[in-house]
């Protein structure tokens, strides 16, 4: 008797649970996200970020989380538009003098800080003085120290003169957030409350920052560029990407960066996710390469470098590591932009050609199938830092090179040790690493022969007089057509010399909830985020915000 009643209770409980869950599910699935919706101000966008911002003064911070948040709060003088051309931001226009040394910026009228006080050229001058001040703890000061003279003749004009013409100048002014003089003039920039309680001029202002948990931004009434559509941006700090993904599928966040497996395998298999989440891909801002230590034999022999380049199957690496979500490149510039030389193409996968070049260089196969020169086998170590994609890349390369008789070992090292013990000392054979695909074509710090000191960035030891000359020329030439020619030529030499094997430029992948509208697809060259102030969340789709009211 007793047993029966327990069983009965369980059955009723079970049935009621089923009813309950099915009811709630039905009420969720009514929404059709693909309908046309109208834009209205309001709503909250929640995104996930892996690291907490450190300091919202970008010139001192240096981490990507900080610059992502600070970018919504501060403006620069100019910015890149969606096609990566220079566009007005705080400055309405700018003029370059005939001798290419002086740039005069004219600010927009009636600019205001979010606290209501006017933003003038005095603030710009103040910001320049801050970043060039030797006591400011910024790693980015050197570009701005090239300005010999800066002045603010009137409230709307800011004028700078370089000692000699400096082509990346405009690019450097897109990166410098203008800071308010009236708040910071008596503060120590290295240690100020302002880093956690900033006053900016852009679309959003800081509303609340709960350490280690979330940063909340709110639309600013005094935005210099008009109001944004979404009222609140919440950035939740969730270090683990699997947890981020669970939060996304549970509708608790609207936006996250995803990895190739999630993009290619998880989403296609999950109808329920496709219904509410849209995926975006855009070419990322960096590329991965295999770099040779050019100071060491046999890598000082161009034939060996070219041979290894021919022996690596880049398409296979892209398929294996990125599940096809990447592009192979042949210059350090984004494909499709003007700096990229369209006449160049990557070294094709030709193991036979590789063997020919290696035998020219003196490497002959011995009876074990290994390449040997003067009794010494062709054998080296690839080092890389703890980065899953780079590790997998190294493994694929190891296999291909083993096939032609090259013995490769792999070593993975924690970042700080990697840089200090191996890169700085030049104590390595081959590295797998990445560089940024910068928007300005200047590559002086990476490839000029003068940049080989410890801690500098030509750590591979690349030296080519013709390339040195082009890099020097390109830094001085402000005319875009002439600059384009210079860097196309530079890319050609670099590809021929093969100091690095370009492996891939991966796509940046984002998953965004379909309640967020106004995102451009396909992504423009500047990426989907460039117009995030135009994104909107239609009223009927806004998250149930009972908790917030």
């Amino acid at each position: 008797m007793k047993k029966k009643s327990i069983l009965f209770n369980f059955i009723t409980l079970y049935i009621s649970l089923i009813l309950l869950t099915s009811c709630s599910k039905e009420s969720f699935e009514v929404i059709d996200y693909n309908k046309k919706f109208t834009n209205s101000f309001g709503g909250t966008l929640v995104n996930a970020m892996a690291g907490e911002p450190s300091n919202l003064i970008a010139m001192v911070a240096g981490d990507s989380a900080s610059s992502a948040i600070a970018g919504n709060i501060f403006n620069s003088l100019i910015k890149y538009d969606e096609n990566l051309n220079y566009a007005p931001d705080l400055a309405e226009s700018w003029k370059i003098s005939n001798n290419q040394k002086t740039i005069t910026f004219t600010l927009k009228k009636n600019l205001k800080w979010s606290d209501g006080l006017p933003l003038t050229s005095e603030d710009v001058l103040f910001t320049w003085k801050l970043i060039t001040n030797p006591t400011t703890r910024t790693p980015y000061g050197s570009d701005y120290q090239l300005v010999k003279e800066a002045s603010a003749p009137d409230a709307l004009t800011f004028k700078i003169t370089y000692a000699s013409s400096y082509a990346p100048a405009l690019d450097t002014w897109t990166a410098l957030h203008i800071l308010p003089k009236h708040i910071l003039k008596d503060e120590d920039i290295n240690k100020t409350f302002f880093s956690r309680k900033p006053t900016g001029s852009s679309y959003y202002k800081l509303d609340e920052w709960i350490s280690g948990q979330q940063v909340v931004l709110k639309a600013s009434n005094n935005s210099t560029s008009g109001p944004p559509s979404i009222e609140k941006l919440i950035s939740r700090i969730i270090p683990d990407t699997s947890s981020q993904f669970l939060e996304l599928t549970a509708d608790n966040i609207d936006l996250m960066n995803i990895n190739p497996i999630q993009y290619q395998r998880v989403f296609p298999a999950r109808k329920d996710l496709q219904q509410k989440i849209a995926l975006y891909k855009e070419l990322g801002n960096g590329y991965t390469y295999l770099g040779f230590n050019l100071k060491k034999a046999p890598f000082n022999d161009i034939r060996v470098r070219q041979a290894l380049n021919f022996a690596i199957d880049k398409d296979e690496v892209i398929k294996g590591v990125l599940l096809g979500l990447g592009e192979s490149i042949s210059s350090p510039y984004k494909p499709g932009t003007r700096w990229n030389n369209p006449n160049l193409s990557p070294y094709p996968y030709k193991p036979k050609k590789a063997l020919e070049l290696l035998s020219e260089a003196g490497f002959i196969k011995n009876k074990d199938g290994l390449l040997v020169k003067n009794g010494k086998p062709l054998k080296f170590e690839i080092i890389t830092n703890q980065n899953k994609q780079r590790e997998m890349t190294a493994v694929l390369i190891q296999r291909r090179l083993q096939e032609i008789g090259v013995e490769v070992s792999i070593r993975v090292i924690e970042w700080a040790s990697f840089v200090n013990r191996f890169i700085k000392t030049g104590d390595f054979d081959v590295v797998v690493l990445g560089w940024g695909l910068s928007l300005d074509p200047d590559q002086f710090n990476i490839w000029h022969s003068s940049q080989q000191g410890p801690g500098q960035f030509n750590f591979l030891g690349y030296e080519n007089k013709k390339v040195d000359k082009l890099l020097e020329l390109g830094r001085k030439e402000l005319n875009p057509q002439k600059r384009e020619k210079i860097y196309h030529q530079f890319s050609k030499y670099l590809l021929e010399d093969s100091p690095i094997v370009y492996l891939y430029a991966g796509y940046g992948l984002s998953a965004v909830h379909k309640r967020v509208k106004g995102i451009k697809k396909p992504a423009p060259p500047a990426g989907i985020y460039h117009n995030n102030y135009n994104w909107f969340i239609p009223k009927p789709l806004r998250r149930n915000e009972i908790l917030e009211r």
């Binding site: 001192v60 980015y140 240690k191 280690g212 270090p239 599928t249 700080a416 908790l547």
Partner: protein, 339 residues
């Protein structure tokens, strides 16, 4: 007794110096410093600025001198500021001249970790005592075996894996509990009772996961202690007096069996401030584990030393408390100390 205490406390000073010396030098054995973070590996950042930073933080001086400088500050209880660009104080909040307060890193993270660990320890000990006692009383029956099996499964199961499964089950497919974080958005608009419930909901999963792996050790400890006691003469005496089995087990045996647990509680005090990096990352909890891990990767020396110092002080205090607790609970030990 008091002279014994004073002696013990005085002994802590040379111990602390020794511990800090060893930690400081080991920390500096790892290559690199705060200027070699991954984000500073950027062609736009110049080597001169990194050198400037090194000089500013005295990182260009010999390690011995750096240790001397650190010791000079620490005797004044000044733990310094983080090397990270936020320059937050390591231990406790600081006020600037216009009255803005910057909270200390340990001050922010410690309460969270402490709360989770205290609840965790309470749960581990209460469940373990019950499980251990049942196992001992029902020794070698299926009850005993299944309890042992259960606690070992809990011990062996990878925490992060179980955590993700539970997060999916309770957070995504059923939406009973929040998935990660400590507070819901809009937390500050709730009533204080609502905030408490909200926090509790967020703690269910992290605390359960961290407790599960602790059950095995403690419950087996209780079980074995209990078995030892149950076979002793005074238990036989108690039984032969005609006492009820319940009274024999719970009053006479259990009291004696959990005595050694005092040592374990004392020894787990330093563990209270250490969080688990994996659990904190998965559940997005800004605790001590993540703070320490990030500081090590960043080579943020003041923070690393701050956490190590506090950890070792707590270890020494924990040992002392365990001894005192033992003396208080066991007359035999008390007598030994007075002699």
């Amino acid at each position: 007794m008091i002279s014994y205490l004073i002696k013990r406390i005085l002994w802590m000073i040379p111990m602390m110096i020794g511990i800090s010396l060893i930690s400081f030098f080991i920390m500096h054995l790892a290559p690199g410093d705060v200027t070699s973070s991954e984000s500073s590996f950027n062609p736009r950042a110049s080597e001169e600025s990194r050198q400037k930073l090194r000089e500013l933080y005295n990182l260009d001086k010999p390690v011995v001198i750096q240790y001397g400088l650190w010791l000079k500050r620490i005797v004044k209880l000044d733990f310094g500021n983080s090397f990270a660009s936020h320059q937050k104080p390591v231990l406790w909040e600081q006020k600037d001249k216009s009255g803005n307060v910057t909270k200390g890193l340990i001050q922010e993270s410690l309460p969270i970790t402490l709360m989770i660990n205290l609840i965790g320890i309470f749960i581990i000990f209460s469940i373990s005592i019950v499980l251990g006692t049942i196992s001992a009383v029902r020794q070698n029956t299926w009850v005993d075996r299944s309890i042992t099996l259960f606690v070992f499964i809990g011990f062996a199961i990878p925490g992060f894996w179980l955590a993700l499964l539970l997060m999916y089950w309770t957070g995504v497919s059923n939406q009973w509990l929040p998935i990660s974080g400590l507070h819901s958005p809009g937390f500050q608009n709730l009533s204080s009772f609502g905030q408490f419930i909200d926090l509790l909901k967020h703690l269910v999963l992290p605390v359960s996961i961290s407790s599960l792996s602790g059950l095995a050790g403690i419950s087996l400890y209780v079980r074995n202690g209990m078995l030892d006691i149950l076979h002793q003469d005074f238990i036989t005496t108690a039984r032969s007096k005609g006492l009820k089995e319940k009274k024999v087990v719970f009053i006479h045996a259990l009291k004696n069996a959990i005595l050694p647990l005092i040592t374990i509680i004392g020894l787990s005090i330093p563990g209270l401030i250490g969080g688990s990096v994996i659990a904190e990352s998965i559940f997005a909890i800004p605790g001590m584990g993540k703070l320490f891990y990030d500081s090590v990767l960043m080579r943020d020396f003041p923070v690393i030393m701050g956490i190590l110092t506090i950890g070792s002080v707590l270890t020494l205090i924990g040992n002392l408390l365990a001894d005192i607790g033992y003396a208080w609970a066991d007359p035999r030990v008390r007598k030994g100390l007075v002699k």
